[in-house]
């Protein structure tokens, strides 16, 4: 294991540098800021419209968090997770990595770490900006900051898990994007609304189980996200997500080390 630390660090550093340079990163960064932009539009509309008010916490939960949890982290994890192996193969640059004294597992782990850190930062900035805009009048309320922190933690954990899952998909499958789109916008967005045990077959169920509970005695702000949710215990949810992340990464490293890649001119 100690033999992996240095190569993982090298790969991490390389790809953290490279991902900042890529053009598509700027496009995704704009997408990550869309909720903040939307929040700004809503705020400006409220200021300009006499008598209008904005229920900041509700909009944050039902728009910003929903967008990030049910769409953005899925899309980012899908693209970047599958890219961990696919971009080296499509770009034919894999040879430069596999002919270095760098274990193949380090390539997977290093890139996973680099993309995870970068994407996490992108998501957190977008969410924090939207939060600051929507709850500008409640920033002194510590409870709201706790909601933000918990939400950011859920998003970060979700990103880590989905990124690992799609890393594995990218290593194992040729048409990983198609599989990923079906998984994200078919399975993960529909099955969580199935009653009973079925929803436990989705990762989204465990993430939603970690959200702040719906307030009793009225509509809680996370009502939309919690719709039909029969939440698992938070500890079980965290353990499940961590286990899926570890298993997916482990399998990805194992499979990647055993696969052969041949580029023809």
């Amino acid at each position: 294991m100690s033999g992996l630390a240095r190569p993982v660090r090298s790969i991490f550093s390389f790809y953290l540098f490279l991902v900042r340079r890529a053009r598509r990163t700027k496009a995704f960064a704009l997408v990550a800021l869309l909720p903040a932009v939307t929040a700004l539009v809503i705020r400006i509309n409220a200021w300009l419209t006499p008598g209008a008010s904005v229920d900041g916490p509700a909009v944050f939960a039902n728009m910003v968090l929903t967008f990030n949890l049910q769409f953005l982290i899925l899309v980012l994890a899908l693209f970047y997770g599958t890219s961990i192996s696919a971009e080296e193969i499509e770009g034919r640059t894999l040879t430069y990595l596999t002919t270095r004294p760098v274990p193949k597992a380090a390539i997977i782990l290093g890139k996973y770490g680099a993309y995870g850190v970068f994407l996490g930062g992108m998501v957190i900035v977008g969410v924090a900006a939207a939060f600051a805009i929507l709850e500008a009048d409640r920033l002194a309320d510590a409870a709201e900051w706790l909601v933000l922190l918990r939400s950011v933690a859920v998003l970060a954990l979700g990103l880590a898990t989905y990124l690992a899952f799609f890393t594995l998909a990218g290593v194992l499958l040729r048409k990983s994007i198609l599989f990923g789109l079906m998984f994200c916008f078919g399975w993960e967005n529909i099955v969580p609304y199935f009653p009973g045990a079925t929803q436990r077959l989705t990762l989204m169920h465990y993430l939603k189980s970690l959200l702040p509970p719906v307030a009793t005695g009225g509509e809680g702000r996370f009502a939309f996200l919690m719709f039909k949710l029969e939440p698992s215990a938070p500890a079980a949810a965290v353990i499940t997500l961590a286990a899926v992340t570890a298993a997916a990464l482990g399998l990805a490293c194992w499979a990647f080390a055993r696969k052969e890649y041949s580029f023809e001119e």
């Binding site: 598509r24 496009a27 869309l34 509309n45 909009v59 728009m63 967008f67 994007i177 789109l181 916008f185």
Partner: protein
């Protein structure tokens, strides 16, 4: 020995006893079957009864939700009444539009992206092919798939209705339907081809183009939902590709639109996307790449 004998040499390895000796034969047989074209079609079609029966199980549990198929909902006709609304429901149906997007994702994302990656544009334009020929060819590739699922079934529906009814009543009662079928099919083909090529030309990476194609469609509808949910203003439907297509389809088939927004505005939005596509494609499809 420096020069080796090139004739037959006996293989010097050893045979390994397999636990399941017929396994490789079976695997090869299955693989070879899938290489036959019509086998794949038959394989796919064979799933249809299973799909229909699975849907039937779902329907059997939710009968109350499906009674509208036979009785109709208040203020609208029943599903099984074939009229302009029936056609509009097909052409502007959420599922069909979603599947058209998926087809573009699968089959269209790489149309230009792959050429940009492999620097093939120079090869194209070294032939007696103009840029418009190249783009027309690419547009037709995407458009053909769309027409296969719009114009072809649309015409088939009309013909089947005439044949099964034994009369031309559908045409006498609703004479605009054939034109609407053709126009809406062309609209969908033109829009989706242009949209697909626009996204495909933005990157050399086909996977990135595939994700953007999907995202653009999905997010446009998502943000429409968000703004509509907050402001309750139907004008926000202009943000959604799906809603715009549905508004125009409603106008063509002369049925009430879902949103109280002039259909011309929706058409203008779609036209703007097509125009943007034309402008971007003209810039991106060059034989020479300008390096800054």
């Amino acid at each position: 020995m420096p020069i080796a004998e090139q004739g037959y040499t006996h293989w010097g390895g050893r045979f390994v006893e397999r636990r399941v000796p017929w396994g490789p034969i079976t695997r090869l047989g299955v693989r070879m079957a899938f290489k036959r074209k019509f086998f794949k079609l038959a394989f796919a079609l064979s799933f249809m009864p299973a799909v229909v029966f699975a849907a039937g199980i779902y329907v059997s549990e939710r009968l109350e939700d499906f009674q509208f198929m036979f009785k109709g909902r208040p203020g609208s006709t029943s599903f099984l009444e074939v009229n302009p609304l029936y056609f509009k429901s097909y052409f502007a149906g959420d599922f069909l539009l979603f599947m058209l997007v998926m087809m573009m994702v699968l089959g269209g994302a790489g149309l230009i992206a792959d050429d940009l990656r492999s620097n093939s544009l120079q090869l194209y334009f070294a032939r007696p092919i103009r840029k418009r020929d190249y783009l027309a060819g690419k547009l037709a590739t995407a458009g053909a798939f769309v027409l296969l699922f719009t114009l072809a079934p649309g015409v088939l529906f009309i013909l089947l209705k005439i044949v099964f009814a034994g009369s031309f009543k559908i045409l006498t009662a609703y004479p605009w339907i054939p034109a609407a079928v053709v126009l809406d099919s062309l609209l969908l083909a033109t829009f989706f081809s242009a949209y697909t090529l626009l996204i495909s030309s933005l990157s050399k990476n086909r996977r990135y183009a595939a994700v953007l194609l999907f995202l653009g469609y999905l997010f446009s509808d998502l943000f429409f939902g968000i703004f509509y949910g907050i402001f309750h203003n139907p004008a926000f439907c202009l943000l959604s590709i799906k809603a715009n297509l549905q508004q125009v389809a409603a106008a063509l088939f002369r049925v009430p639109p879902a949103f109280d927004v002039p259909w011309l505005y929706s058409l203008l939005v779609l036209a703007a996307i097509v125009a943007a596509s034309a402008a971007v494609l003209a810039r991106k499809t060059r034989g020479v790449e300008v390096i800054k």
